[in-house]
């Protein structure tokens, strides 16, 4: 089968996802899609529009409303040679398939040495006043569940490349795609080589010597905006984006901190036991002597997401809040 890559300029994040799925389905006949309304309708976000026509109803399957059953069935099929990609209609609904994911799929390889090449696409995150059940950022549950890999790209090119890698990877991969970025983020797809495994990645998206910022998903965009503002004040932020949360590539972070001596983590997930905590713990364990101040966490509070947009905006780290957090980190 052809292993063609989409090379295109200025590609929307959401289109990058479509391209990745289509290219990988053309390349590998064992790839199949499952999810609610993904067939004729093309999914709640139309990412698989047209796929039914191209790949047929065996490979593009509408599922009943049954997240647990769907993940379980995909796991069984994956053990026996299929490569299912499941679309959660919204990331929030994963809680209904939680057991299948953390106990069946995640532990399968360790327990049995049978691999489970399964991808779960998770349209997640807030910013659109979608309320408590369509806005959550739940990566931490899965980072605390050994056996899963976790991806959360911020840019179209990473989204394309990592979705294809995730499908090729023999392990269950939880793939967080941010709804707010779907139609806002654009990058060129340059044909960067595609790995057949998801490996840790920590990418410096902007260099600076005063403070290391760590983020992923939507927040990386806010962080980059905030870094511009700080630059105008003469403060240079080193922006590290983590398109892959697990496995974690810690080295670039530690190297950056050696230079900056200050670090702040920004995430949209709620604070307690979020991935920011793990990063802060790792950093203060391995780099405490390089730190000239505490590791700051700039996060959502421990609260559900409000429907009212003003209330929601009050909780998501804004560019201002990020700048303030950094200023405090630099003062202390």
């Amino acid at each position: 089968m052809p292993n063609e890559m989409t090379i295109e300029e200025n590609v929307l994040y959401i289109e990058a996802l479509s391209h990745a799925l289509r290219d990988e389905m053309r390349h590998d006949p064992s790839v199949m899609l499952m999810g609610q309304d993904i067939a004729g309708h093309g999914g709640a976000f139309k990412i698989t529009k047209g796929f039914l026509d191209e790949f047929g109803p065996q490979r593009v399957r509408n599922t009943p409303i049954a997240e647990s059953g769907t993940i379980g069935i995909a796991t069984g099929a994956a053990i026996l040679g299929q490569r299912p990609v499941i679309e959660m209609q919204f990331a929030d609904f994963i809680s209904c398939g939680f057991n299948q994911l953390v106990n069946v799929a995640a532990k399968m390889y360790w327990r049995t040495e049978c691999s489970v090449p399964l991808v779960i696409r998770m349209p997640g995150g807030g910013g659109m006043g979608a309320g408590a059940f369509h806005s959550q950022n739940v990566e931490s549950w899965f980072l605390h569940s050994p056996g899963l890999k976790v991806v959360a790209p911020a840019f179209s090119d990473d989204a394309y490349r990592l979705l294809r890698s995730a499908i090729k990877d023999p392990n269950p991969v939880i793939y967080f795609e941010h709804k707010f970025l779907y139609r806002r983020e654009r990058t060129d797809l340059k044909g960067t080589e595609i790995g057949d495994r998801v490996v840790g990645e920590a990418n410096v998206r902007r260099s600076g010597q005063h403070l290391t910022s760590i983020s992923w998903g939507w927040m990386t965009h806010r962080v980059l905006e905030a870094a511009e503002i700080m630059a105008a004040e003469g403060i240079e932020i080193e922006v590290i984006d983590l398109p892959v949360l697990s496995p974690l590539d810690l080295d670039p972070i530690l190297q950056s901190i050696e230079k900056t001596e200050h670090v702040a983590i920004t995430h949209e997930a709620t604070r307690t036991c979020g991935f920011g905590a793990e990063l802060a713990a790792r950093i203060s364990d391995e780099a405490i002597w390089n730190l000239d101040g505490p590791v700051r966490r700039i996060t959502y509070p421990d609260s559900p997401s409000p429907f009212n947009k003003k209330l929601e905006a009050d909780r998501i780290p804004s560019v201002d809040v990020i700048c303030d957090g950094w200023r405090q980190a630099l003062q202390s």
Partner: protein, 376 residues
Amino acid sequence: MMDQPANSSPSNTGAPPEVSPAAAWLDTGSDHALREMHAYMRLTREWDLRYEKMFKTGALSKWYSSVGNEAATVAAASAIEKGDALVSLHRDAGAILRHYVNIETLIPEIFPSNMNLIRQPLGGDSRERLFRLACQMLGRQHGYSAGHERSYHYNHMEPEHGLIHIGMISHLGSMIPVAAGAALSFQQQKSDRVAINFIGEGATSTGDFHEGLNIASVWKLPFILIIENNHWAFSTPTSQQYACDNLASRAIGYGMAGVEVDGNDPIAMHQVMQEAVQRARSGEGPTLVEAHVGRHRGHSEGDDSLDQVPGDELRGYLENDPMDLIETRMVNSGIVSRAWLEEIREKCAALIMEVVDEAMSMPEPEPNSDRSIHAE
């Protein structure tokens, strides 16, 4: 192999099942019953049309329409009383309005003065409830969740009036056990109250549907689950959702009562509900009601999911619009005139317009990221 139950439903052609005759117990009062059902159905229809319009003008970011579900939901809620629990989903404005509002206090001339209502109305301030409901839809401070939750995602309790209303969370199926739990609380308290809950046919595929109904039946809880089968879940037809002839047959597997009914006929629906409520109150356990209704709109306003519904099927639904059916029936049997129906429509529309406009002018909530996640 197991026998298939005798009364399997017609498959999902556009047309709803044949209209059942009105219940015997309603015969003498059937004029009244029709007028009562109709008034609430009309109020509900105007409620939805208003928000549909606001969605189109951009004043609202999302709307799930309950157009087509009015007969089923209004009739269902007509069967419950003070102290019973209503647990609603996203297309149940009819049930909420029927339960919250005494329409004759808002539109006094709507019924003849000698008219008997099917059930005794709850006390309390109907106008204020309706107004707060509008505020809730619009994310205002004065809404039932003070802007924290969207549309029907709220609870509202007025213990002094025996109003118990638990709203939905998004995760479909989840509310079934919760509603059964409300029924459990009645059983524990040795009261004869009941809990009713709604679900779409799509969400019958969830594990919680199964776990909730099974426990409810084993424990003989006073619980009624009403499936609003509009034959589509977002863009997914029933043929891709389940393979059984009808969903009421699932009741067999739980050892509970199961009934299939034409949800476009409020009188048939009400009769089924009355029986189910009676069964629940007398300790005979839960009932599963499958009410067939039409799919009149897209899944939510502004999406193109209606494109998936074949033209013939859609036409069938529109031709069997429960509003049209009841109005034709009322006119044909000489209960009211077309002109009077039009007057009611205008009065209902005006009331909704007034309330929604007022709600629009209300303040949004102030930032409060410290809203407590715990009861103190």
